[in-house]
């Protein structure tokens, strides 16, 4: 794998800054609090894991950081810019250009083959790069994540591990500043899980991509440089396991 780390205007500034984030859901007449005043900072190049029991608010936290949802209150700055008050289309722009998301159940588009799935986010941009250059990058990325022989395959012709590799490639093709992975190994066998974790760790080290996971998987935690514990919608511990790469 021969990739250079992306360069950013201000590497010393935290990539993600959450302040007093509250998220509540209305269930019938009941207001259910999912996050209750979360403060968190993520720095570039981190390989961070969010851990916590089911219902603790992990996914809600990732959804807010991934701009898939908006907080009920609080401040969320991404790369120095306040995004908590942005409308849907502006958040779509942030997701498309700055954040890559990897899902537990892969979430590939079934009618597109591997190449088409990977290039898809770039094709939805208002300003598109030339097709030749994009295809070159897609092929290289597919090679990097071990999908070389399968680029013409559709998702239903791939194994779980291969599908997750496609999802990883799709998350990385936009050269995002942050990759979020919501329980990425939950649907994979142990051997494949190890490979996927190793791949992401490799991408973190080689490309300098910031990763944030939510997981129950202790193997993922072993590779994390920082673990954030969350319970009942509050962060109870956010100490680094080791110094974050590049910091």
């Amino acid at each position: 794998m021969t990739s250079s780390a992306p360069t950013h205007a201000s590497d010393s500034q935290p990539l993600v800054v959450l302040r007093s984030i509250v998220k509540s859901y209305q269930l019938g007449k009941t207001l259910v609090p999912a996050l209750q005043g979360v403060d968190l900072e993520l720095h570039r190049g981190e390989f961070t894991v969010v851990m916590g029991p089911s219902g603790s608010g992990k996914s809600t936290l990732l959804n807010i950081i991934g701009c898939l949802d908006r907080p009920s209150s609080g401040s969320y700055k991404f790369a120095g810019e306040e995004v908590s008050d942005r409308d849907f289309d502006k958040l779509a722009g942030v997701r498309n250009e700055k954040i890559g998301i990897i899902f537990q159940s892969f979430n590939l588009i079934p009618v597109l083959n591997v190449i088409e799935n990977v290039e898809f986010p770039c094709l939805m941009r208002r300003r598109r790069e030339p097709m030749n250059s994009l295809r070159e990058r897609v092929h290289k990325l597919c090679e990097d994540v071990g999908l070389g022989p399968y680029v013409k395959h559709r998702p239903d012709e791939l194994s779980g591990g291969q599908r997750q590799r496609v999802a990883i490639a799709r998350a990385l093709i936009t050269q995002p500043e942050l990759v979020l992975a919501d329980e990425p190994t939950a649907n994979l066998d142990s051997k494949t899980s190890e490979q996927i974790i190793a791949l992401m760790q490799h991408l973190n080290q080689q490309m300098g991509v910031t990763f944030l996971f939510s997981t129950h998987d202790p193997r993922v935690m072993q590779h994390a440089k920082r673990v954030v514990y969350i319970a009942d919608g509050k962060i109870v511990d956010a100490n680094p396991v080791a110094a974050a790469s590049g910091h």
Binding site: N63, G66, L68, D69, F88, D89, A92, G93, V94, R95, N96, E97, I101, F103, N107, L108, I109, P110, V111, L112, E116, F120, P121, L123, M124, R125, R126, R128, R170, T174
Partner: protein, 408 residues
């Protein structure tokens, strides 16, 4: 961006083949029926027009000014000349193919001590056939006026029966001349016009030669109308001012539309029926598309969430579903219109022969359809498909990413 969405839309259409085929078939059937019926009706309406224009009215008529409004006045008060100089003015208009003079009048027909009131039409046997050749189709037995001699008459069976005369016998026509003086002349009953039971405007009706009527009515070189033939009936309106200029302001020129407005009424009624049938077919087909797209949105909610998660905007999601509906509508429409057109062109070439009981000559119908109509119904199918998918598409595009992703 758009080519990528089109690619996904095309693949999504083929994703649930069975459902797409059913939806596609509904559009196919609707367009096929619409084009097929339109073609058949066009052919039938052309036949109807031809049978009236070439069998009764002519494409245009020239009367003395005020003739058309003077329904209560005796037609003999408002006459047109039939001398060669006047007819030559009409023939001199470029595009006029034939000209004939007629007199419409009423009279008493007597035979075997029996009288019957009849409507009579005096025609120029030689020129009438050039303007209205279908007149001959209506003669069910006997001779034509041209073959029958100077006092020949062709009568409807109802008139002949009421007088108790048979072909070959004589009768007498008694009527007032232009000055109100009674006059009578003998006629030779040479031919039968129509058949018993055939729907006719006047049951007791007859034809006599123009010169015979001019003698009887004492109006030499005069007639109540002059009928004109042109190549294309739909150009009648363009000939109207040219003829008017040729004959002068003391005459009025009317087209077959004015004389036989019931044709336009009948055509309008047929078209309204077709439009209703077409609209019902298309509405049912479009309901199918709306249902298909709604199902598709429900089934693909997670996928919509996935697209949103990689930064696809609401407008793009909306476009995707509208594109899918448009593809279904347009593809089904193109094939349906092609099938309908194939039917129209095949029978347009071969002709459809319809023979109803009591009809003397069978109807030959040659279906036709215009490219404009085909494009119109295609636009209707594609546009309707997109409109019918609007609600499901808006619903898809308004989803919140996190909710769409959580769908099972």
């Amino acid at each position: 961006m758009l080519p990528s969405l089109v690619r996904i839309a095309v693949r999504n259409v083929t994703r649930n083949r069975r459902r797409s085929v059913i939806t596609f078939s509904a559009i196919f059937l609707a367009l096929g029926v619409m084009v097929g019926i339109r073609g058949f009706l066009n052919g039938m309406q052309a036949t109807l027009r031809e049978s009236i224009i070439l069998g009764q009215t002519g494409a245009l008529q020239i009367h003395r000014k005020g003739f058309m409004k003077a329904v209560t006045t005796s037609s003999l008060d408002l006459l047109v000349p039939t001398d060669e100089a006047f007819l030559q003015k009409i023939r001199g208009v470029p595009g006029i193919q034939a000209v004939t003079a007629r007199i419409a009048f009423g009279g008493m027909v007597n035979a075997n001590d029996t009288s019957a009131v009849a409507m009579l039409s005096a025609i120029d046997p030689k020129n009438e056939i050039l303007v209205c050749p279908r007149r001959l189709d209506m003669i069910s037995s006997g001779k034509t006026l041209a073959e029958g001699g100077s006092s020949a008459a062709i009568l409807t069976p109802e008139l002949a029966d009421s007088l108790g005369v048979h072909v070959g016998k004589q009768a007498t026509i008694l009527t007032n001349d232009r000055d109100g003086v009674m006059n009578a002349l003998d006629i030779d009953y040479v031919g039968v016009y129509g058949q018993p039971g055939l729907p006719m405007p006047d049951k007791k009706f007859g034809f006599v030669p123009l010169a015979f009527a001019q003698d009887l009515l004492r109006i030499p070189n005069m007639a109540s109308e002059i009928a004109v033939r042109i190549e294309r009936f739909d150009e009648a309106e363009t000939f109207k001012p040219r003829l008017q200029a040729a004959v002068g302001p003391e005459y009025e020129v009317v087209t077959w539309h004015d004389v036989a407005s019931f044709i336009d009424d009948a055509i309008a009624a047929q078209n309204a029926t077709l439009n209703l049938i077409g609209a019902i077919f298309l509405f049912v087909a479009l309901l199918g598309i709306a249902n298909t797209m709604l199902m598709s949105v429900l089934e693909r909610t997670r996928e919509i969430g996935t697209m949103m998660s990689v930064g696809v905007r609401r407008r793009q999601i909306l476009s995707l579903f509208l594109l899918e509906a448009g593809i279904l509508g347009l593809l089904g429409g193109i094939l349906g219109a092609a099938a309908g057109s194939a039917f129209v062109f095949y029978y347009g070439y071969k002709g459809i022969v319809l023979k109803f009981p009591g009809m003397l000559a069978p109807l030959h119908i040659y279906p036709t359809v215009t490219v404009g109509y085909i494009l119109f119904v295609l636009g209707l199918a594609a546009g309707g498909a997109v409109l019918s998918a609007l609600w499901p598409a808006v619903r898809a595009s308004q989803m919140r990413p996190v909710e769409a992703l959580a769908a099972v």
